[in-house]
Symmetry: D2
Subunit: 260 residues, 4 copies
Amino acid sequence: MSEKTEKNQKSEAPFKTAISQHVDEASYVRGYALTDLIGKVTFTEQIYLLLKGELPTKEQRTVLDAMLVACAEHRINVPSIVSARYAYSAGNTFNSAMAAGMLSIGDFHGGAIDNAAKMFIENVDKKEAEMVAMELKAAKKRAPGYGHKVYTTDPRSAKLFEVAKQNKLYGKYCKFAESLEAALEKTNGRKLCLNVDGAVAALLCELQIDYRFGKGFFALARCAGIAAHVLEEAQIASPFRTLVDEDVEYTGVKKRELKR
Amino acid sequence: MSEKTEKNQKSEAPFKTAISQHVDEASYVRGYALTDLIGKVTFTEQIYLLLKGELPTKEQRTVLDAMLVACAEHRINVPSIVSARYAYSAGNTFNSAMAAGMLSIGDFHGGAIDNAAKMFIENVDKKEAEMVAMELKAAKKRAPGYGHKVYTTDPRSAKLFEVAKQNKLYGKYCKFAESLEAALEKTNGRKLCLNVDGAVAALLCELQIDYRFGKGFFALARCAGIAAHVLEEAQIASPFRTLVDEDVEYTGVKKRELKR
Amino acid sequence: MSEKTEKNQKSEAPFKTAISQHVDEASYVRGYALTDLIGKVTFTEQIYLLLKGELPTKEQRTVLDAMLVACAEHRINVPSIVSARYAYSAGNTFNSAMAAGMLSIGDFHGGAIDNAAKMFIENVDKKEAEMVAMELKAAKKRAPGYGHKVYTTDPRSAKLFEVAKQNKLYGKYCKFAESLEAALEKTNGRKLCLNVDGAVAALLCELQIDYRFGKGFFALARCAGIAAHVLEEAQIASPFRTLVDEDVEYTGVKKRELKR
Amino acid sequence: MSEKTEKNQKSEAPFKTAISQHVDEASYVRGYALTDLIGKVTFTEQIYLLLKGELPTKEQRTVLDAMLVACAEHRINVPSIVSARYAYSAGNTFNSAMAAGMLSIGDFHGGAIDNAAKMFIENVDKKEAEMVAMELKAAKKRAPGYGHKVYTTDPRSAKLFEVAKQNKLYGKYCKFAESLEAALEKTNGRKLCLNVDGAVAALLCELQIDYRFGKGFFALARCAGIAAHVLEEAQIASPFRTLVDEDVEYTGVKKRELKR
């Protein structure tokens, strides 16, 4: 494709990728033969390799495992699970039902990771946590990754940072995240705990994974829980789930005649 | 909810689940405190626990890791990756783009796993592989999980079964799958190799994971590759990907006037 | 692109379409300038034009309108609506929430249209309705498009066929569909009414629209209802909808310790 | 549900809706019996009724038809169509493929409608268009709904406003939108035409449809085009569409050995 003399010929390939290639009908992922990876690396190592281009150290793998486990499942009540079970119950395919679940992740469900990570990156080397807390207060903005309706300390965050310390991956982002938790309490007069989104965000930064991956990280991890719930729906539930009438209140206009 | 005297009261909970519960605001997955699992189990062990209710043995985990790695990524050219990259490029969220990719898994892309596993389960204890091959031929049906446009031996299948043998999980389903490969060659006069879908199907059976999970298993594994490709799209591609005109041929009616 | 001497050059365009083209930066739909269509044709006429390549007669348009109206909305309780509202409530985009709703259409929700239409096409010129009813009974198969948990006559089907008659589009498919309703009652000893899926299927046949469009037709029509419900969710509901605890019963193992 | 003495009883219905209800097993949409609507209202009228609660006047219907027609289809090259065709080609269901298409609508594809409408609403009664143009310039922000890579006048916008005028729905929002087009040219020294997104946004305001519906409106309209393309894919294309190799450039690391 070096010469571009003919009209209509593409100047360059529309898709560029550094993730995988085929050579002589065999797949190479980040340079490694797929058949070499099978049996030698874990799924988590493969995920790391796919995202970052290199295999993780034992410490990086352990922390990534902890992060994925922390987000894989929480409870049935949340939108990502309910939507997936409804979708499957209507008689759709397994993967489509999982996709419906994934579409129920959003700003209010796994959605603070990217914004929290962005905030850490933008401030960690430039500002004290207290200044960030005051700026947020002045701007009347919530700190993404902080606060929980019940917890004053999110036990998942504590656990994740403990694992990070054991694996020498508790670095400046984690430290900043914890300083900001203290600063927010000082500034606002009440505790706003670093929640699991915020802790995952700090660890994504420590692993130098692009913050824009935030909602994708949560989707990838939660995919495991969604899959288990769709399988349970397939195994135990009758098809065609509907809301029971008592869960619905009609608030609209009364029956009326169409004058046509 | 023991008494049901009032009209409109639900007789039973519409959602039943054995996967997770909250006790005192803490999440328990299959009985284990989520905070105990974080840092102690790998993502693959969590996946197994979620799907099956118990943690895997080291051997089961190793085989499941191999299966997930085998399906996580293959190449950029396939529908699951292309759709996801187009979706992200139009300015949608990360998780929605991943869902678009997941919707491009189907009968022709990761889709033979469930049917192959079903075929193994229905026949393994009842029929010889040769009889199954002959019945398929008589019914003019393709054996799901067999055949590849290039390979006469699928190196991923070989590798997966090697890992299964090393981990004492090469059992009657794997054996049957390989017998059927030989029987199909004998019956049809040409090699139809056990492809990666077929090998994964046999291993799902060995791990006693419900065959209906087939397309879901592929979706869960491929989710890792989809995530990496969407991240790469975010990092290197300009927004709003479109087909180049030379890839399109218009075959419709010529310009015409609307007479109204 | 007539010569294929260079290696790597495509032999033909991978996408062929007769639906639309651009000429001098202007869009032509089925040959008509898009700017001519705007203001002169209705959305329903545009749908017909897109699907079939020609604008409908007044009668065809009226029947297609009736079919779309019949499927656009039914009630909030169904999976397509519930999933969409959950998805939006989690903080996802409007179009992603609509997609989640569309993924909750399936074999048990709008899903009988394609199979019913296929059955009509395969039999209408070959077999009496009574024979089809007997064959279905012998095969222990349900007739797709027949039966309703409450109705003995589906009022929507009756209405649709009335509109078809008024517009001279009640033809052999409608007739066959009604004969089969009578034949099923005779064969099974109880009424299995032609439901709305079945009536729409017969009318798709009368309009000579490909039966494979079945689930797509329902998705297109229901899209209107889904859109209205997502908008209502945006307007009146608080974010992050979750199942209330009383709707969930945990059936799994009790709290247990992780021995690691 | 007036008394809430029992523990665990819901205080109120989690779903409230004014869109539809069932009375004696019959569906009522915005108060009208569904069976009365079938055959008497067009799909576009039903859409308007669903969204707004009342049937449109003839003028409102005509303008809404024009808006839907303007957005229903443009060309095959765009993400919403390409993703849908890839998804179907992989062997997924018709509705899932449509959903994949809908997920490829986003900020860069149909995505300016909501922001443009918001901008019109916030400014129409408060500021001159010239001030808005200057503020945008000072803030280095693009005006949503303005600009096109080719057009200096978007013929679809012109047509839509012509239809609005004919139907007495060219009001203050349309006027403001056109003033802003002139003001942007004056402020920036070059024409930034009101594009189809901007014109649709102004008309949504004239019809008093919530601006948050923006991406949903485009999704609903484009659904028709997506449906036609998926049907064409079903009819003429072979399964399993893949990128051709010449469209891909591998930019990653070379083959390397896995040292484990």
